[in-house]
Assembly symmetry: C2
Homo-oligomer: 456 residues x 2
């Protein structure tokens, strides 16, 4: 027993020493990230010098060049572009909606087309609107829908404490509402925006059609306008709604995942990925979604290099292509990993905004033992804001890697403000807080460091 006890004491002492060294190193990471503010400066460049980065747009390609150049500027990082076939949706030149009440009083709506939706034609689509709150109601009233514009008025419930839950449940109308309505002869749809904001900005986002039904125009309006329209319905006055949109696909082209890599010194074939997506919607600068995740991932490499850290494993920062309306970047990253028999140990995505850090989540399929190993790092992370590591999803661009045995994870900043700006014109640099963005990067860098050092 005595020997065992001695051994245990030694073990604990070594453990404490390691924890202490790790704690010191993570403090250094924090100092270099919070002190120099690289991620924040890069986000300003991305948002202000380049701007919106819709898949296939001139700005998306400019952002790829910017990303590659940024990696190249870091001594010790190998840069490459990983091509991916992309579809090119454009909003076109017309993007508005209005209501005529009793044939004359016009109510302009702050509205915008949903991503990947087809345009209305130049004349627009004009029809009587019908207010629908749920799919159950749609089924019940399907006979009334023919020839009308369906206004889906589902509200992201303000009582839902976790906004991502509200987004998940309410988002169905944006994602599939057009074809569900077209099935019963609707000529267009418009949704109450998926927003928790107090403003009237419309929020776009991806939708898709079921090919069995006509591809009718699909738009979103701001919350205040949605309330106004509900009041008009209550007033019982006759009205028509007009949707004018111009969405269409141009010819397919090729985009790129932008990859910066530091080769591992001990296990170069074990890959750790940290990433965000470089594309954004076209309405704003994509600052939170997902410029933040990109610059945080770049910051992870930058901070490790600045401290002279030599990773055991290969660490890749990836700026993914086409997350918003296709997912071609994540698909290609996964396919290439399979083709090349790459061993992906860990993948972390930051795609929930540049807000104050709260936790990390891992795919629900992760084994408890690996989750526990990650959770054992919490005492090292909590001084920097991360208090929880649990199951609950990873990231759209890395999720497929699970099939290769990779532990996939998502950075989880505080989510209360995310859907105020998500996919809306207010997702701009000014709405990202410098300290919150940087502190997120600190926690990401710390976790990547720990996984690199101790494996999984």
């Amino acid at each position: 027993m005595r020997k065992l006890c001695m051994l245990l004491v030694l073990f604990v002492a070594l453990g404490a020493k390691a924890q202490n060294a790790d704690s010191l190193f993570i403090r250094q990471l924090s100092n270099v990230i919070m002190g120099k503010g690289y991620a924040y400066d890069k986000l300003r460049e991305l948002c202000k010098q380049i701007g919106p980065r819709l898949t296939g747009s001139r700005q998306m390609f400019a952002a790829e060049t910017w990303g590659a150049k940024s990696f190249a500027d870091m001594q010790g990082v190998q840069v490459r572009l990983q091509p991916c076939k992309i579809k090119r949706w454009v909003r076109g030149n017309i993007d508005n909606a209005y209501i005529l009440v009793e044939g004359k009083r016009m109510v302009r709506l702050d509205a915008t087309a949903l991503g990947n939706s087809m345009g209305s034609g130049k004349a627009g689509v004009t029809a009587a609107p019908i207010l629908i709150n749920t799919y159950a109601e749609l089924e019940q009233r399907k006979e009334e829908v023919k020839g009308k514009i369906v206004f889906y008025n589902a509200d992201m419930p303000s009582v839902e404490v976790q906004p991502f839950n509200a987004y998940g449940s309410t988002g169905i109308f944006r994602r599939s509402g057009a074809s569900r309505a077209a099935k019963y002869g609707a000529v267009g749809i418009i949704i109450r925006s998926l927003s928790t904001g107090t403003d009237n900005h419309p929020h776009t986002g991806v939708m898709s059609y079921n090919d069995s039904f006509p591809k009718i125009p699909a738009m979103a309006m701001g919350l205040q306008d949605a309330d106004k329209v509900v009041a008009l319905f209550k007033s019982g006055k006759p009205m028509t709604m007009t949707l004018m949109s111009d969405g269409r696909f141009l010819t397919d082209t090729t985009g790129n995942n932008v990859i910066g890599e530091i080769k591992g010194t001990e296990f170069p074939n074990e890959i750790i990925t940290v990433g965000g997506h470089l594309d954004s919607w076209d309405l704003a600068e994509g600052a939170h979604d997902d410029g933040a995740g990109c610059v945080q991932s770049m910051q992870v490499l930058k901070a490790l290099l600045e401290l002279g850290y030599k990773p055991k494993r290969t660490i890749r920062a990836v700026l993914f292509c086409n997350e918003e309306n296709g997912g071609a970047g994540g698909d290609e990253y996964f396919e290439a990993a399979k083709r090349n028999n790459e061993k992906h140990l860990f993948a972390l995505e930051s795609d929930a905004g540049g807000f104050t850090p709260r936790g990390f989540s891992v795919s629900t399929s992760v084994e408890d033992s690996r989750l526990k190993k990650l959770q054992s790092y919490l005492p090292l992370l909590s001084p920097f804001g991360v208090e929880t590591i649990g199951k609950g999803g990873d990231g759209a661009d890395i999720s497929d890697l699970k099939a290769l045995g990779t532990l996939t994870s998502g950075f989880r900043p505080d989510a209360q403000r995310y859907f105020d700006v998500h996919h809306a014109r207010s997702d701009v640099f000014e709405n990202v807080n410098k300290r919150e963005l940087l502190l997120g990067a600190v926690n990401m860098a710390a976790l990547i460091y720990l996984v690199d050092k101790y494996g999984l």
Copy 2:
């Protein structure tokens, strides 16, 4: 053993049942607070209809009336005003500073007088500036200070993860820098603002003089201007600085703590206080500091009433008077408690902004057993954002109650953005996020409910 085991099982089952009932009740509190948004609507009124509420100002009195009316509008709340003697500082009509470089090029500084500082006189104070980074440097260079304006350039360190720590340490120059410099013959001081922001707004805040030395003007400038002035020093060009301020005290008067109270049904003599301070600086709307704490405290009563909750103990929401530049409200609340032999069980203050909830802290002198009791509630709070309860301070207006055996506590929202707007013109309603503010109130209401139900 068997009996004991059975008893234990019963106990655990009862415990689980209580936890479940509490969990349900707290969910209802959350639903009513997040769903109706009372606190947010009241904050809009306070900020937009009344505005800045400097102690002794017309708006401060208007805010007292508004607060009393708001309590009176809640059925079941007794309202009273608790008078407190207050000193009335005013900024006056002149509030600016500039630099003349080589006697001609003028650099205007975005500057403002510190609270309770004395004015420069109409002609202003003009002198050569001297740049001082620390008190050690001041002592070292005390011979050079005579006849000069001391520019204290201490920066809130960006590497400090906890901004309140940075505020605590860097704040000494604002609080005591004037008399420390006047001791060596300085004719004025100006500090680098206590700010973590990326803008150039000057941040005011309270200072005090040591009566042994002349009461020289004391101001603060924005961070960008501070950097500019540092660059001017580096350039070595001869310059003079002019401070023009107009601060002074008017005759003393009487303000009020505004108290709304629900009488306890079982232990009416045991008092639970929840509060914030109603006064603010004069530069902005005092939205985070501390309109947020006031409306959250009002929201606690409102939500409990709306759910028909009959508290066992007496619950008071207090809108304190004069926290910013005197503390007369907190002093009077404590003195009255002593005079009236009141038994104060628990006091909670929200005065760290209306940001997303993270925790509660209690006075460092709290016994471990009572702290543990509070910590046992964490599983009930964490679904709403509060993850930690620990030692680390309470609130300026309730701290004295410790002397009566009260457990004093502070609500601790995320602090990363607080010092961006603290005491600056940007502390306005628009910078308070609705969901974050309300979620803070949810956690406060939950804790007050638990302390009321189970005692301490």
